[in-house]
Symmetry: C2
Subunit: 141 residues, 2 copies
DNA sequence: TATACTGTATTACGTCGATAATACAGAGGG
DNA sequence: CCCTCTGTATTATCGACGTAATACAGTATA
């Protein structure tokens, strides 16, 4: 499947599942109408408990990302893609707020911090370098 | 005192205390040899349990940041400043790795992500703007 | 010496996230 | 109809974190 669980992460497992499904829908990996793995199947795959998956799925239903197809399972709801893209920006922004806030509070030298940020940015998202870039015809969301 | 606890944060309280003490030492807010608040005093101040503070203090002792002064309390250990500055960079870098990694996995557009980063950077650390800046004669690690 | 402070240790309790083992109703497919 | 899949619900157990209430040894200070 398209994602994995980080057991060392402090984030609750069901929350990780929620995020990853959200990101998958936002990125088009999961399209509207497409069925998600069953509770038991995903649980087996991630070696976690079915109840944990069920909890994540229920939350995703409450948020309108998934919708039940009677007798068949759960599918990505109509209009979920746009909603998830917005949710994605919100989640990422809040993460940045927290990390940057702690960095600021730590009294690290702002220039040194910016260097750190640039390094990581370059290391993990080389495509976003500089301002413009020669379009690479590589797979992209 | 110089820090505060975020009870909504998923991070354990004792861990928040450890980080903040570490950052305070790294930033020179707490200097080597200086006494830290007593277990009970800090607990009262942060409205948390003395045991929680004690746990944080013990961990800081194990890491060599604090050292006991018999019958008096705990003080910032010799050589802790440099150690904490290194620790600070490591902590911040690992936070950045995690957030950037999740962003990358979310398949957000790299340019959009960079914009988000720049926005937050500007919003929280305006001093780090551009490349150079009028040197402020402020304390720095 | 007596008091008040220091850190430390112990035991009990509550919450929350996760696991585990079930059980149930509903629908698809042979 | 029967079997198997679906999501859902329930109850119990476990561990980590935090709280709470003590108790203790050691030291500074009056």
């Amino acid at each position: 499947m398209f994602f994995q669980i980080d057991f060392d992460n402090r984030l609750a497992i069901y929350d990780q599942v929620v995020r990853q499904i959200t990101f998958a829908v936002a990125g088009g990996v999961l399209r509207e109408g497409e069925l998600v793995p069953s509770v038991r199947e995903l649980a087996r795959e991630l070696t976690i408990n079915p109840n944990t998956v069920a909890r994540a799925y229920r939350q995703l239903q409450d948020h309108g990302v998934l919708a039940g197809v009677r007798g068949t399972g759960l599918a990505v709801a109509a209009g979920a893609a746009k909603q998830c893209r917005e949710e994605r920006v919100g989640l990422i922004r809040s993460q940045l707020e927290q990390v940057f806030g702690e960095a600021r509070q730590s009294q690290i030298d702002p220039r040194k911090f910016r260097t750190l940020v640039e390094q990581e940015l370059e290391r993990q998202m080389p495509d976003g370098a500089g301002k413009a870039e020669s379009r690479k015809p590589k797979a992209e969301g």
